[in-house]
Symmetry: C2
Subunit: 154 residues, 2 copies
């Protein structure tokens, strides 16, 4: 068994790349992008998630009472850029999640250059994030975020 290929298959099944947004009054533009990579499995599969955590050597596992699952999640931008993203470049996803991954990678790279602290950069990140598949998971509509950012621009 090749664990690299196995992990990519598992993530094509149950993983997701998400960029959510928090509202932060004290931030210059009032909006903070929050990229995360996660993988949810049944409550019987805690050990497998531990193996995933050890494989990536980052992230944490939490229990989700709501749907009785365990969720592995990495939110650290540094870990996403240096550990998670390189894996999926070497062992690319084969499902439509690959589209989301490409957008996710671009957003993380922009953030790594601190471009989310800059007006044009932040607008670009919001635009990319709302092209991702897992759209439904968003708290705010794109127009709402753009309104907040644009109000602060002046």
């Amino acid at each position: 068994m090749d664990l690299n290929s196995y992990i990519t298959g598992l993530v094509d099944g149950e993983g997701s790349f998400l960029v959510s947004f928090n509202l932060r009054r004290r931030r210059k533009f009032g909006v903070e992008p929050r990229p995360s990579f996660c993988l949810s499995l049944s409550r019987h599969d805690y050990k497998l998630l531990e193996e995933v955590r050890n494989f990536f050597n980052c992230g944490a596992i939490r229990f989700n009472k709501g749907d009785n699952t365990y969720k592995y999640e990495t939110r650290s931008l540094k870990d996403l850029v240096t550990k998670i993203i390189p894996h999926f470049q070497r062992y690319p996803l084969k499902s439509s999640k690959q589209n989301s991954f490409i957008l996710f990678r671009e957003i993380c790279q922009l953030m790594r250059k601190n471009l989310h602290l800059n007006y044009q950069g932040l607008i670009k990140i919001i635009d990319l994030a709302y092209q991702m598949n897992n759209f439904g998971a968003r708290k705010y509509k794109k127009e709402y975020l753009l309104k907040i950012v644009n109000k602060r621009k002046v």
Copy 2:
């Protein structure tokens, strides 16, 4: 990328092994076990399911209007025994689905020997099937099936 390991990962995420039961009046014991292996993916992932179908060289893909997914499925006992099961023996599942797979394999092997046409064999198959995880997918309660089989025994 090693496709064998990838497929096992994908199936650990989204695949399932199921043994359902049909009621068949003309059968000696009135009950027919129906093993199947399936994998459901989003409507954007038809191509990936085609790759899975080609990989196993058996089964069919259908669209499921209900939840807007495509479903790859193999029901042929011969294909299950000669193509599906050997793959998961060489590249074992790492999730709790492995427990279901072991029971599934035993049921298919019993059926391959035609033991589902025999009272003791059929009772054993029902017993094994109701130890599998995906319990909830069952149309009939175990007690109901046993009642039908036992009525015909005499």
